[in-house]
Amino acid sequence: MIRIRRRPSKKKAKGHFRAAQQNPSHNTLLSKNLEENTQFFSSLYEESSDVVFRSFVVGKKGATIIYIEGLSDTQKLDEQVLETLLDKNEFDETDFLLSIKNRLPISNIKKISTFSTCIDSIANGSPVLLIDGFEEAFSLGLVKFEKRSIEEPQAEGSIRGPREGFTESLGVNTSLLRRIIKDPALKMKTVHVGKYTKTKVVISYIKGLVDKTLIEEIENRLNRIQIDGVLESGYIEQFIEDNPYSPFPQLLYTERPDVVCANLLEGRAVLMIDGTPFSLVAPVSFFSLFQSQEDYYERFWMGTFVRTLRFLFLAVSLFLPSVYVAITTFHQEMVPTDLLLSLASSREGVPFPAIVEAIMMEIAFEALREAGIRLPKQVGSAVSIVGALVIGQAAVQAGIVSAPMIIIVSITGIASFMVPRYSIGLAIRMLRFPIIILAGFLGLVGVMLALILIIIHLSTLRSFGTPYLGPISTQQKNWMQDTFIRSPLWKMNTRPRLTGEYNAVRQGANLKPGPNKSGE
């Protein structure tokens, strides 16, 4: 859905591109002559019906306001700007510009002097006021465009926790962060990426907690990007990862301000991209992808339990189908006798070898899931009925697929939903297939080889210089505190160690609550 909506804008960008090429005088200063300037802009915006040119006379001088319809607040422009300027009042001729600036009841008003800044300003929704006889123009901060209101995040729901989610508008998103972290140490650096989209990317971090080299590295990587447009955070992600071939995500994306703030407080940096509700967190480790915000909001016992469960189901969703294939085709002696006999009975008459059966069913399941996401909600339920009925029952009754395989595939499916981050779930879903093939080739030894390959890959992987398997494999201090278990908040006195310099102490020591504490 999103893609379909976005495409036309890309086309528009292309038309834009041609116009710009006709005028090489892009970065030159504005001319004194209003005629020349408007000429330039109208040729730039030819065939753009949404660009409005309004010419008028102010204090005997000609003036033009240029803005794009829908991006600027027309009502305010009319009431506050035009009304003031068209007033018969005299303007101070000695410092004409200053007097205009002083008259206009707009807080965000800037003097600009080049064509390119004018273009940027128009594109961002700030109307540009050009006045005859001056080499400078005004950018009037009257941006107003339609935006989605703040809603509950769709992809990351939670029972307990704030219900605000990021929106597509960057200004709203940064404001959400500022509302949570009030210390001025919260910094936001802006970088523009994309030749045509000129997307604003904000690197936000907390000064003093974050490693300075990390920010430099992120800036370097962002500046290296030379693409035509950024439509989603994924574009940025794929250009700044450490290992582009890895199936594992090396940045975490989230649309929850509380998750972002938690990461900021742990000394990570966050990239917020205009036009998408998803922000990127860097660096991440494999284990941080298994943390969910509610682990911290609920009691630590529950957090620990749920997290252990997640890792268990990670193993299940990665290896269950392949272990099933390995056991039923290589190591039948491992199955308890009674179970083997019922397995053998249900396999009897199934025409496919177990490995083919497994791959077939897994693919069918993936297809069902994919179809379920893409289809409109009304049709989606039909898909699930057909899927459950046809694949679940009919296939077994017809003797094409064995019943245990259906059970295995469904358990695997459920297990893969246990992962709190969708992106790592995708990696797991994909990796399942090569593992099944290896299992069909060498049995459990093949599964182990696959595990070794995954471990080697994860050991090699780094996310912005920090080991991906940290802190487990690097054996840092307090490595258990936030990986497989979630220690009580009052015990997590240090931040996870990322790279080099960091601010280790998170909170005061000896915070364990108790009845006698307050009396002291």
Binding site: T337, L340, A344, E348, V350, I437, L438, F441
Partner: protein
């Protein structure tokens, strides 16, 4: 990119042509039990009980479940390995030994020696070390064809019978270990078909049951302990549960039966002035389960008497078994040899080679301590007027 496609193609090629060990479950002939017989001409015959997978699917397929879920197939050969390879030619699927936990030796084979067969079973990676061995009263093959009314196949029935009493069963490893060890003797359950008088619903509907213990010495079977003596052996092996002991008191008019709940037997070898003595301490605790007499076991003196009586009864039975093993069979099934070796290594090394002669001379001193722990729901005898109870 081209490189990676090439690599992927190679991997696919390898994985798809490989799979040397892959056997689909539909291609397996699951052996549930096996019987090995020696034929009159000295050949070995292997019979296996194979599971029919169709048999236990749900009723929809319309199979008659009473037909039994297994069938028996056999083959003969010069030796076991030979016979099994012949057997494979008679079965369209691959023989699968991984779940076969029951091996039955025919009595002819047992008398002739089982070492060669044991070697195959241990050497071959298919059969498991912890599968149970049995000796059948007659041809072993007959027992495989039985259709148990409760279990799915006779092998399962046999296995469950054995698992109930741990001391009873002898696994492949136990036999290997015992025949390798100091005593070179071992006991293997001796089984026969249970003959029931009730009319059966179909032919062969019965199960094999354990009738005693076959005693092996140096791979050959030399005799059988009957049921009573087998109990005695079980007590020696620390497994006393489920065997009810009944005694008759002198002044009682019936028997009192007790089921042991826990028991321990302790062997302490002793060498005194060239006399080899085995001190055997048995402590046993139990519940009274039936009281035919008019005696009240709640009474202290009566209880003491009962306990005393148990001690003598037990002592007698154990002594009987040991006597038989020592004198008749001269088979050191209780591992006296090892126990002496452990405590008296020097003396042992002297008699090591003539343990056969020494073993019958070992004096066995049996000490039994019996304790009644519980009396069940009632104290005095049931259904008896209070004034008839003797105290």
């Amino acid at each position: 990119m081209k490189k990676s496609i090439l690599v992927m193609l190679c991997c696919c090629y390898l994985t798809l042509t490989g799979c040397w060990d892959r056997v689909e479950m539909q291609d397996l002939a699951i052996i549930t039990a096996a019987a090995i017989d020696r034929l009159e001409d000295g050949k070995t015959r292997i019979s296996v009980q194979l599971f029919i997978p169709r048999a236990i699917t749900s009723g929809e397929t319309g199979e008659d479940p009473s037909l039994g879920s297994t069938f028996v197939r056999e083959a003969t050969g010069e030796n076991l390995a030979n016979a099994i390879s012949m057997l494979q030619m008679n079965v369209p699927r691959k023989l699968f030994w991984g779940q076969c936990k029951v091996f039955i030796f025919g009595i002819e084979l047992a008398k002739n020696g089982i070492r060669k067969q044991i070697d195959y079973l241990i050497r071959h990676p298919g059969p498991r070390d912890n599968s149970f061995l049995y000796v059948s009263e007659d041809e072993a093959k007959e027992l495989l064809t039985l259709v148990p009314p409760l279990e799915r196949y006779s092998g399962e029935a046999l296995k469950k019978l054995t698992q109930e009493e741990k001391g009873m069963g002898s696994t492949l490893r136990d036999v290997d270990k015992a025949l390798m060890g100091e005593s070179e003797s071992v006991s293997i359950p001796y089984i026969q078909m249970l003959v029931s008088k009730e009319p059966t619903r179909k032919l062969h509907e019965t199960i094999p049951v354990i009738e005693g213990m076959a005693i092996f010495k140096k791979e050959q079977m030399i005799g059988v302990l009957n049921k009573k003596e087998t109990r005695g052996l079980l007590w020696l092996k620390d497994d006393m549960k489920r065997s009810t002991i009944s005694i008759k008191l002198k002044d009682g008019d019936g028997e009192i039966s007790m089921t042991p709940t826990s028991g321990k037997s302790k062997f302490s070898p002793e060498i005194k002035e060239h006399r080899w003595i085995m001190n055997l301490n048995i402590t046993i605790e139990g519940d009274i389960v039936q009281n035919e007499t008019h005696l009240d076991p709640m009474d202290k003196d009566v209880l003491l008497k009962i306990e005393k009586e148990y001690e003598t009864a037990l002592k007698e039975r154990v002594a009987q078994t040991i006597e038989k093993l020592q004198q008749k069979f001269n088979a050191d099934v209780m591992n006296f040899g090892r126990r002496f070796h452990q405590i008296y290594p020097n003396e042992w090394s002297k008699v090591k080679d003539r343990w056969d002669e020494k073993f019958p001379e070992v004096e066995v001193k049996i000490m039994v301590t019996a304790k009644v722990r519980r009396h069940g729901y009632i104290g005095p005898p049931a259904a008896l007027p209070r004034d008839e109870v003797k105290e």
